[in-house]
Amino acid sequence: MPAEKTTIFSPELAARFDRLVTLYPVKRSALVPMLLYAQDEIGYISDAVIAEVAERIGITELDVRNVVSYYSLMRTKPVGKYHVQVCTNIACMLRGGNELLHHCSKRLGIGHKQTTPDGLFSLEEVECIGSCSWAPAVQVNYDYHENLTLETMDKVLDEYRAKASK
């Protein structure tokens, strides 16, 4: 990729991508990590992300969309600043995951895959996040909150709200 090429990503990420495509026997293998890094920076996988990733790897946009649509952890719509992911798989469910989800929904006034009007929170019911030993668990962006009760959940949400207003 020539240096003067316009990119929608930060210079750091663009540089990282330049290297990433050289690491695999076929460029295509860089697709999933690239999409995840792009999602972290842009917030979601926009049409512009798809176009640039396709261009960088040398595959069609359709190929990129095929992959993006396969994985539930890749999203094509923006989420809130804090993306609250409540696990309701078996361990969490037995320990009150569903109640946590309903509680969050009521507290935030939004449902599954919705975002608050202020753009601060979004909510998603997710499959196992690998924290069964400390169920029920919730993942906010990349941070884990475990052994939650309705009260501690409130606290977690309040902390994020406070952090945002700083």
């Binding site: 040398g58 595959i59 069609t60 946009e61 359709l62 190929d63 969309r65 095929n66 649509s69 396969y70």
Partner: protein, 787 residues
């Protein structure tokens, strides 16, 4: 590879090592059902229908991904396997709507057949089926998600087969859908391969959907009337108010060299035949300049009377005849015979799109060096010079892609454009448009010929490594350049050549002598010996006027009459209408073309789908043309020529030698039927054929062609059975070649244009229209996939 021996259902079979079990079984006549497996495409292993029991293997195995092995013992049908397949179908039917009574595929649906066979008619699912609305992706392609069984055949044929990569799979599990490349619409070559290959009715076509049921059609296998590749197409025809209308074109029986391939033109652009604007009755120009419908007798009497009067008073030299690139060989032959032996003129020509005379002259005395289209399917190396096969010869491009993908053939190409086949090329040389001749000189060793092209030497080195090669060249090569190219090609150990022309029977028009200086088989008019004998008439010995000279003569007032058969030269050559104002013009055509508008008599003509005979593709493959459709009021060009001759007072038997000669139809054309003459007559009538006792029988003329043109002396039985026969072009006795005047005018058609026929195809128009409306594509309208 070495053969292995294995046992299937108690039968001992042998197959080359590495053969897939499913293929080995099919070749031995053991059918293993499969939805996702498709010969020639990559393996998917998605549908689980082909499961079989292989001894000593723990679970049922998929026959489509298991290679045969020595000593393998296989069971393909058992209660266990039946149960497994039934369960698969039950899952497939979980979301599949049971709208078979209205589905296009109903009656020829693989899922329906399998359900019938394995009896999964009871479902244990009580959940509501997932439903999605059907979508239109292009004027051609519609998608009905609920019917899709996710076999991925469409995705693979579009990508691997067509190299278009316009279809993908999105989401996963039961929510998975086939997706078009532009999210809500397709940007592709609109070939319809995905629709044809779909085992169910998930992908349907804009021309056929909800129009009829498969069993209501008659299916006639004939030759496509568009480009010069001559694909076989099976036309589905149905009775309509005014004859038989074509409702579908495909080649699902995989007969012929194109297997199941057809492009958009073969599959959907038959609609010109059903156009309302077709001329369906003879018309005569009135003194006030308007056309008035007339009866056949009036029109033929008038036209024939005028022709005879002009011939008798002003001589044959004052009459011109223009033939077509889309009529049968028999019609082209008959037209020149009519011109030469009845009108007494050599002023006969057609729209030339390739320099076949120069090509065949250069091949003379070199043995059988002309390539069949079949040669491109298994050649080890291919050289394509000029032309853009993807646009102009879609079948050639398909053969080359498959050969490169499945047999690792090497493609070398040189072109002044960035043609799409470049993606398959081992080596590609960009050259200037004016350098095609210089390229051959360079390849032949003249270092100075291609100065300044740095890549040329590497290209030549790559070529020099080849021992066997098939060379296809476009209309960029003519006359002396063809001669030089053939001379260069002779340096390879094994070489074959193909000359790429543009229309369905361009080759036939040339072979059959629609030329002012050459008789059928390229015999010069100056030595018409056997022809004069056969025709029983003295033939004009001087070369006549070519296309351009004829219109020049008309402008000077030296052309008293012009007879045009299924061609539109006025539009093609930009002829000034005023040039023809003192010429008596007879036009037989389907539509009121630019030329027809200037006619004094218009005779409604049939198209290639509405007549019988033979046609020759640009590679010299001869094929049978069968009558599929019918339109009340129109007549084949053959009939029109014969009737015109009859009305001129000519003895028809000398024009069409019906009822004489040992090569007459003794039953070749009626398959397994045999017996008494009346039974033959019944069979012929039922198949819309006429008895050999008729002056309208094209095969009476075909007999004569075979007598007079040695290259066409091919086995008749195989031809009549619907197979292609390669011409014996080494028997062409041409004497003139490179020195002739160059009148080649390439049509420059694309995938979505097809000369006059294309102008009257609604489907081609709507595809081009929809591509204009969707912005953001490259000039070719195709997505480019980078390596």
């Amino acid at each position: 590879m070495a053969d292995v021996t294995f046992t299937v259902d108690g039968k001992q079979l042998t197959a080359p090592k590495g053969t897939l079990l499913i293929e080995a079984c099919r070749q031995a006549g053991i059918e293993i059902p499969a939805f996702c497996y498709y010969p020639g495409l990559s393996l998917q292993g998605a549908c689980r229908m082909c499961v079989v029991r292989v001894e000593k293997m723990p679970k049922l195995q998929t026959a489509c991904t298991t290679p045969v092995a020595e000593g393998m013992v296989v069971t393909t049908e058992s209660p266990e396997i039946g149960q497994a397949r039934k369960a698969t179908i039950e899952l497939l039917l979980g979301n599949h709507p049971l709208d078979c009574p209205v589905c296009d595929a109903g009656g020829e649906c693989e899922l329906q057949d399998m359900t019938f066979k394995y009896g999964a008619h009871q479902s244990q699912f009580v959940e509501i089926k997932n439903h999605r609305e059907e979508q239109q992706w292009s004027p051609v392609v519609y998608f009905d998600r609920p019917r899709c069984i996710l076999c991925y055949r469409c995705v693979r044929v579009c990508g691997e087969g067509m190299d278009v990569w316009a279809l993908g799979i999105q989401n996963r599990g039961s929510g998975a859908v086939i997706a078009p490349n532009k999210q809500d619409h397709l940007e592709c070559e609109e070939c319809g391969m995905c629709i044809d290959i779909c085992p169910v009715g998930a992908l349907t076509s804009g021309t056929y959907r909800y129009k009829t049921r498969p069993w209501e059609m008659s299916h006639v296998s004939t030759v496509c009337t568009h480009c010069a590749d001559g694909c076989k197409t099976t036309l589905g025809v149905r009775r309509s108010d005014d004859g038989m209308e074509i409702v579908r074109g495909d080649n699902r029986d995989k007969s012929g060299f194109n297997n199941d391939f057809l492009c958009i033109k073969g599959r959907y652009a038959f609609d010109f035949a059903n156009r309302e604007e077709r001329v369906t009755q003879p018309m005569l120009r009135q003194p006030n300049g308007e056309f008035k419908p007339a009866t056949w007798e009036e029109a033929l009497d008038f036209a024939a009377g005028k022709l005879r009067e002009i011939r008798d008073s002003r001589g044959g030299k004052s009459i011109g005849v223009i033939g077509s690139t889309r009529i049968t060989n028999e019609e082209a032959y008959l037209l020149q015979k009519f011109a030469r032996s009845i009108l007494g003129t050599n002023n006969i020509d057609h729209h030339r799109t390739a320099d076949y005379p120069a090509f065949l002259a250069a091949l003379k005395a070199k043995g059988q060096k002309e390539a069949s289209i079949r040669d491109f399917a298994d050649a080890k190396a291919i050289l394509v010079l000029g032309n853009d096969p993807t646009e102009q010869h879609p079948l050639l491009a398909w053969q080359i892609r498959n050969n490169v993908r499945n047999n690792q053939a090497r493609l070398h190409a040189a072109n002044h454009q960035d043609i799409k086949l470049r993606r398959q090329a081992t080596s590609f040389l960009p050259i200037q448009q004016e350098n095609y001749g210089a390229l051959v000189a360079f390849l032949a060793g003249n270092e100075k010929a291609l100065k300044g092209n740095a890549e040329a030497a590497g290209f030549r080195d790559a070529l020099r490594k080849e021992e066997s090669i098939v060379i296809a060249f476009g209309s960029e090569y003519r006359g002396k350049d063809i001669e030089a190219l053939i001379a260069f090609g002779a340096g390879f150990k094994n070489v074959k050549f193909a000359c790429l022309g543009d229309y369905a029977n361009s080759r036939g028009a040339s072979d059959m002598g629609l030329l002012p200086d050459l008789l059928p088989g390229y015999v010069p008019v100056t030595s018409a010996g056997s022809f004069a004998q056969e025709y029983g008439a003295a033939l004009p010995a001087e070369p006549g006027l070519d296309m351009i000279q004829m219109f020049d003569a008309a402008g000077r007032g030296d052309l008293a009459a012009l007879y045009v058969a299924s061609s539109d030269p006025v539009k093609l050559y930009g002829v000034d209408p005023a040039a023809l104002k003192n010429t008596f013009v007879i036009v037989q055509d389907m539509f009121l073309t630019e030329t027809a508008k200037l006619a004094d008599v218009i005779l409604p003509a049939a198209n290639l789908y509405e007549k019988a005979g033979t046609a020759t593709n640009t590679y010299g493959d001869l094929q049978l043309v069968k009558k599929a459709a019918d339109k009340a009021g129109v007549r084949a060009d053959f009939d029109l020529i014969v009737r015109l001759a009859g009305h001129m007072g000519h003895d028809i038997k000398t024009l069409v030698p019906f009822g004489k000669g040992l090569l007459a139809d003794f039953g070749q054309s009626r398959g397994t039927q045999s017996g008494e003459a009346d039974r033959h007559a019944v069979w012929l009538t039922a198949h819309q054929l006429e008895l050999k006792a008729s002056p309208f029988d094209p095969f009476a003329i075909f007999d004569e062609i075979q007598r007079l043109v040695p290259a066409y002396e091919v086995p008749r039985l195989n031809l009549m059975a619907g197979n292609d026969e390669h011409l014996k072009s080494d028997l062409v006795q041409i004497q003139t070649g490179a020195a002739r005047r160059d009148l080649v005018l390439p049509s420059n058609d694309t995938l979505f244009t097809s000369g006059t026929l294309g102008e009257y195809s609604q489907m081609l128009h709507s595809v081009m229209e929809s591509r204009k409306q969707k912005p953001g594509r490259n000039s070719r309208g195709l997505m480019i996939r980078k390596a």
